[in-house]
């Protein structure tokens, strides 16, 4: 998991048209797409909307010149969190349908309904679109640029300062974790080494995690002291320089917002026969 942190960071340092865009426009377009798909009513209308967003994502991904493996790896990491909730929907009724038609009867009085399957599929599509755009955003934008972008868009100073420190120390502890792992490996300890007794491995890992917690506590103390030395107080905030938005960024913002807004509107108008 920690190594994934460095893997994600590596992707953000690549060069492409999408990578070089201002973080602000990427954040806005990403959230516009998320809001658009979430706001699309729970109906078959979601299918063409999600399809169009998938094509949009594909175009952006190709422009970002990232490997599909990057997307697949990150999707696999995130998918279990949403998949469980979506799977449960298949067995339960929901408020979006009036009539439920069982398509399979299971033991313990469980039923699979046609409408619930449709609802779960819509939910899955919404979930996939949302996380796919988050994956795109975080794979093409350096984390510090994301923070600066969010700050320039008006994220309160309390959040930017705290998130900034979190970002900094996630990497400090990432490196600390690496060093601990190297120290264990140097002395032939492997958590999955079956030649070592199970209880011994468990105990060693518990000590290691405990050490990491203690070190993080101590690091926190030292950092706070250093902050006080530099005048930390109520007015402290992260320094974010003013940065102009280039025409290229404006063009992307315009196109992105047009896709995000027009897609659900056009499909909705066509569903009611106005287009």
């Amino acid at each position: 998991m920690i190594e994934d942190l460095f893997f994600i960071e590596k992707q953000t340092y690549r060069r492409s048209l999408i990578h070089e865009l201002d973080a602000r426009v990427k954040i806005v377009v990403c959230f516009a797409v998320i809001v658009a798909i979430v706001a699309t009513p729970y109906s078959p209308l979601v299918f063409p909307v999600a399809g169009t967003f998938a094509v949009f994502l594909l175009v952006l991904w190709l422009l970002a010149r990232l490997s599909p493996v990057v997307y697949a790896k990150r999707l696999v990491m995130i998918l279990p969190f949403g998949l469980f909730i979506i799977l449960v929907q298949v067995f339960v009724q929901n408020p979006y349908y009036a009539v439920f038609t069982p398509i399979a009867d299971l033991p313990l009085g469980l039923h699979i309904y046609r409408e619930s399957v449709e609802f779960a599929t819509i939910l899955l599509l919404k979930f996939l679109v949302c996380i796919s755009f988050i994956i795109l955003l975080s794979s093409t934008t350096k984390v510090q640029d994301l923070l600066e972008g969010a700050g320039r868009l008006g994220l309160p100073a309390e959040f930017t300062l705290t998130l900034g420190m979190m970002i900094r120390y996630v990497y400090v502890f990432g490196y600390m974790y690496r060093k601990i792992n190297e120290a264990l490996a140097t002395r032939h300890f492997g958590p999955f080494d079956s030649r070592l007794p199970y209880r011994y491995r468990l105990r060693t890992l518990a000590y290691t995690i405990g050490t990491l917690f203690i070190r993080s506590y101590e690091q926190g103390e030292r950092t706070y002291t250093a902050m006080l030395c530099r005048g930390y107080g109520r007015e402290s905030h992260l320094y974010i320089r003013k940065k102009p938005v280039l025409w290229r960024d404006c063009a992307f913002l315009g196109c992105g917002l047009a896709v995000a807004v027009c897609t659900p509107v056009i499909f909705w108008l066509s569903s009611i026969g106005l287009v």
Binding site: L147, T223, T225, G231, Y239
Partner: protein, 277 residues
């Protein structure tokens, strides 16, 4: 009036461990002061009193003649900048520029002044090119410079460096020596630093304090400290290699004048060679 003065400063850690025991220390204006001592001698503990991080168990700390109080603590911390040994303790922002700007922001400066201070601090330590980098992509020496720049940007009158050479390569140490000397020479700052690398001291210090087990056991200039090998060995230190060699040659009858820095020693060796040639 001295910039920093401690009078009979005593500090006891929880668990009744003595950190400092009756320390009298004076930092005059535009001075380069080395505090030398073995591990656990109390150097870092002393430094943490200079800007009010630690409060004395007894005795007093005076900054510009005034004790540190709740009312003047922010001003004291602007006046006395402390650079910690481990830069990871001190660099807590996502980018170098943001980290260097942290202090000036806390001083309530306007954006233009903050920008100017950041640029200037980065220039002084020679890392303008690292401005947009993230700290975890930097080497130990670069991180050390960022930590120093973060303090320099607050424009303190006294710069306190805790073990500044720890973890630096020889070029890094040379750069640091030049940097400390330039702060004193060009900006009139007082620089206080701790080390147990005694060979560095003659190059960068006018005044030396020797600490052992929380006490100041000797103070003076190079002549007064490095001519006392017994004292230094009793506190787990040693005489720097150049005066040690010259002292040994003198004991063996070579007519050579004592020198402490490389340049002085080179001059004295050449003079001795010419005399004997």
């Amino acid at each position: 009036m001295h910039l920093i003065e401690t009078r009979n400063l005593t500090y006891t850690y929880p668990g009744n461990v003595t950190g400092l025991d009756g320390v009298n220390f004076i930092a005059p204006r535009n001075a380069r002061i080395a505090v030398i001592g073995a591990n656990g001698a109390g150097k870092s503990t002393l430094f943490k009193h200079f800007n009010g991080i630690f409060k004395p168990t007894s005795g007093s700390v005076l900054v510009r003649g005034e004790p540190i109080t709740r009312e003047n603590i922010r001003e004291v911390r602007r006046f006395v900048g402390v650079v910690f040994q481990n830069p990871d303790d001190q660099i807590f922002s996502p980018t170098v520029e943001q980290d260097v700007a942290f202090g000036p922001i806390n001083l309530g400066l306007d954006e233009e002044t903050i920008h100017h201070r950041v640029e200037e601090a980065l220039r002084v330590v020679g890392i303008e090119h690292l401005k947009d980098r993230v700290p975890h992509h930097l080497s130990g020496g670069e991180k050390k410079r960022v930590a120093i720049a973060g303090i320099i940007a607050m424009e303190p009158q006294v710069l306190v460096l805790d073990e500044p050479t720890a973890g630096l390569d020889p070029q890094g140490v040379r750069d640091l020596v030049g940097f400390i000397n330039s702060l004193s020479r060009n900006y009139g700052m007082t620089v206080i630093f701790s080390t147990h690398d005694v060979s560095l001291v003659p190059e960068v210090a006018d005044i030396i304090y020797v600490m052992h087990r929380g006490r100041v056991v000797a103070e003076g200039d190079c002549d007064e400290i490095f001519t006392r090998p017994d004292l230094l060995s009793s506190v787990r230190l040693d005489v720097p290699v150049l005066p040690k060699l010259i002292s040994s040659l003198r004991d063996q009858g070579v007519d050579i004048t004592m020198a402490y820095t490389f340049t002085e020693a080179e001059k004295q060796f050449l003079a001795a060679y010419r005399r004997n040639a």
